[in-house]
């Protein structure tokens, strides 16, 4: 708008001002949505970043044979199951000699995680030569200690009788810290463990593997079915009642709420076909049916963009319909179809509701070894942790969300890379 128009007429200036204002409404709307997203990401980031570190306690351990393996057989299972509590306690008492009463001893031992003795047992079972030696071992502290050391609970705010960590416990922690025996270390357990009742021992590995198996099944069903359907509808089918019906179905399936797919899985795959409950096999099948419409719709638009000249040239040289389609058209469309599929898989990776319906919402400690093992998935694990009342799980939930988002971003980046690298423009 030239300036002389604005200055000549007050009416025009008003209209122009309205134009400017309206543009600002749009900018503000966009800013609100995007800043909400950034707020969400930062809130989750700052809550979750702490979970990548965890508080460890150094304990000087005497691996005395009489306590661990009195029989001297060195049998792995009995080494694992030996009573390590007194050994750990003796180590702690070297720093805190005052704790000799039964109750004090129990309280002192509670500074360590329940998993500490288990980890120690696994270590001894792996290297039985340790027996008879002494060594400084870093074991996990309990979740309460962890929260205290990270500054997430302030004992001054809560009266002593309401906290789990009493004044004496805190004094012990400080003594240990002064002796350099409490440190925050990288939380490897978070990446190598399955779920656990104690936050300091819980990890995402079994959920991540469960998600991986589910996606594997989902991909191996949805990708071939999706692209072949797209090929049929775009390259072969003449317009008929049947193709109309298929098309209407695909469009409607794309709009069915995801939880309904879960009910389909429950009623048909589990109750009718009696497939194993809570497994990645069924989870993957449900996710496949759910992503199928996305893949079909994306693949069709890619196939439509392959120029007619390609088909004409192949047919003109005597190729059959099938040869034209599968030797010439499909290879040209493949990068685009793969991109669409990966984006569909990314969506399936974040899907929770249908998996709840088919029972993939279990407490899974062991890493699933195959598609028919009972498993859970990453977003379901997030849901489970978000639901648990223990304070230590808030951190873990946020950290698991960060891991999930990283996977999603990687898949999206890979899809975009694939498109950039292999896409042909016509």
């Amino acid at each position: 708008m030239p300036d002389y128009l604005l200055t000549t007429s007050p009416q025009m200036a008003k209209r122009h001002k309205r134009h400017k204002r309206f543009q600002w409404y749009g900018r503000i709307a966009i800013a609100i949505s995007i800043s909400f997203m950034l707020f969400m990401f930062t809130a989750i980031f700052f809550r979750g970043i702490g979970a990548f570190q965890k508080t460890m306690v150094a304990v000087d351990i005497q691996f005395t044979e009489s306590q661990i393996d009195p029989s001297g057989v060195r049998d792995a299972t009995s080494l694992k199951q030996a009573n390590y509590k007194p050994i750990l306690l003796q180590g702690l008492q070297q720093v805190i000699p005052g704790a000799t009463e039964r109750r004090d001893r129990n309280n002192l031992y509670k500074l360590l995680s329940n998993g500490a003795a288990f980890d120690l047992g696994a270590r001894v079972a792996n290297t039985p030569d340790l027996i008879g030696t002494s060594e400084r071992v870093w074991v996990a502290a309990s979740s309460e200690v962890d929260l205290y050391v990270k500054g997430k609970i302030d004992p001054r705010e809560i009266p002593e009788e309401l906290r789990r960590l009493k004044d004496q416990d805190i004094a012990w922690i400080e003594t240990l810290r002064d002796a350099g025996q409490i440190k925050k270390k990288f939380n490897t357990a978070f990446f190598t463990n399955g779920d656990s009742r104690s936050p300091e021992m819980a990890g995402i590995l079994s959920a991540a593997i469960g998600s991986f198996f589910s996606l594997l099944i989902c991909f191996s069903i949805a990708f071939p079915l999706g692209i072949l359907t797209a090929v049929y509808l775009e390259e072969y089918a003449k317009k008929s009642k049947l193709t109309d019906l298929i098309e209407v179905n695909i469009n409607n399936l794309a709009a069915v709420p995801s939880i309904v797919f879960g009910l389909l899985g429950l009623a048909i795959f589990l109750n009718f076909f009696n497939l194993p409950r809570s497994t990645p096999l069924v989870g993957g099948m449900v996710l496949a049916l759910m992503t199928l419409p996305t893949i079909i719709i994306a693949s069709r638009s890619i196939l439509r963009s392959v120029p007619q000249a390609t088909r004409d040239a192949a047919l003109g040289l005597g190729a059959s319909k099938t040869q034209t389609t599968f030797h010439h058209v499909v290879p040209l469309a493949m990068p685009g179809m793969l991109t669409g599929t990966i984006l569909g898989m990314a969506r399936a990776l974040g899907e929770t509701a249908p998996l709840l319906m088919i029972g993939m919402v279990a407490f899974i400690v062991d890493v699933p070894k195959g598609v028919t093992d009972v498993a859970t998935a990453l977003p379901v694990q997030i849901f489970l942790w978000a639901d648990s009342p223990e304070k230590g799980f808030v951190e873990l939930t946020s950290a698991a969300i960060m891991v999930l988002l990283v996977f999603l971003i990687l898949m999206n980046v890979f899809a975009v890379y694939l498109r950039k690298k292999l896409e042909r423009r016509w």
């Binding site: 134009h19 309206f22 900018r27 966009i30 969400m40 309904v260 048909i268 929770t352 978000a386 988002l405």
Partner: protein
């Protein structure tokens, strides 16, 4: 010699023809999966729902004002059959969807108008993927955020103002869901606005209208059917959304229009009825399928109607 060559050729061509047919049949088979899925969904829901209606009459499900699926252990106990009226669930679902749409509609539409009409190509290329990122975030993340940050925030600011706000208020779940819906509305409306022919705009400019006047008085009215379609699609998504409400909304059915109270939704009830211990023949578990059927009819109806609106509108200017 020639004859045998002919024969091989003919045999080869018959073989390849057979192959063509076989491949085509296989392709048709693949496409039928979509139909079978639909049939499977409808059949499984309908089958279980009919069994449910054998125990609970249809009218008391559709018009009942009370929802308390806890069936008693002893038969002679009061309320032994439980109450399975879907209306409180529908009301809760609609309340949360309304709140979500109140947040999402202005944000989504204004973003769409700005991106389609005013933004430079450069900022459009930057902003559009960012908005679409919102649609790519798993809903369990939104749910966690609603519980952890938004609900305490709303509750706290309510307490400042002297309002009693439940920590599972419909407002918290609804507003977070609203943000989730923004990209659905903005990208569809964006398409719709772009489909308005340039000639209409030019005519408006020619009459001396400013850009904003052209947009608000000419382009948007022309695009209205398509925009309504995109809003209906967003509503259908809000009704079917599960994880945000499972995490952030309440469990107890509550027939209210007060956004500060906790309400429950149809999807929440499906999840609570079907996770945990279940005996398969009880009215309780079968009720989940009846709700799901209701949900499916609702969302599909909205969807078909919306797609038809958008289609009709697009054809008008094609």
């Amino acid at each position: 010699m020639k004859q045998s060559q002919d024969l091989t050729l003919r045999r080869a061509s018959r073989l390849s023809q057979f192959r063509e047919y076989a491949i085509q049949a296989a392709l048709i088979g693949c496409s039928l999966v979509a139909i079978f899925t639909t049939i499977g969904i409808v059949a499984s829901l309908a089958f279980e729902a009919i069994r449910f209606f054998g125990k609970i009459p249809v009218q008391s499900f559709l018009f009942g004002l009370e929802w308390s699926p806890q069936t008693a252990i002893r038969d002679d106990q009061v309320g032994a059959s439980g109450a399975f009226g879907v209306l409180p669930l529908l009301a809760g679902t609609l309340l949360i969807s309304c709140i979500a749409m109140t947040v999402a509609t202005p944000l989504g539409l204004l973003s769409a108008v700005y991106l389609a009409e005013f933004a430079s190509p450069k900022s459009r290329n930057l902003v559009k993927p960012m908005l679409e990122l919102l649609a790519g975030i798993p809903t369990v993340v939104y749910g966690f955020f609603a519980v952890l940050v938004v609900a305490p925030l709303i509750r706290g600011s309510g307490a400042e103002l002297g309002l009693q706000i439940s920590s599972e208020s419909a407002l918290a779940a609804g507003s977070v869901m609203g943000i989730m819906l923004v990209p659905y509305i903005s990208s569809l409306s964006d398409d719709v606005i772009n489909a308005v022919p340039q000639a209409i705009r030019d005519a408006s400019y020619g009459m001396g209208a400013t850009h904003t006047e052209t947009v608000t008085k000419v382009v948007l009215p022309a695009a209205t059917p398509g925009i309504i379609g995109s809003l209906l699609l967003a509503i259908s998504r809000a009704i079917g959304e599960t994880m945000i409400v499972v995490m952030a909304a309440g469990l107890a059915a509550n027939l209210t229009a007060n956004p500060f109270e906790a309400v429950t939704t149809m999807t929440v009830q499906i999840v609570t009825l079907l996770t945990g211990d279940q005996e398969f023949d009880s009215a309780k578990t079968l009720a989940a399928f009846a709700i799901a059927l209701f949900l499916l009819v609702l969302t599909l109806g909205l969807n078909i109607f919306a797609l038809r609106l958008v289609d009709k509108y697009k054809r008008k200017y094609a």
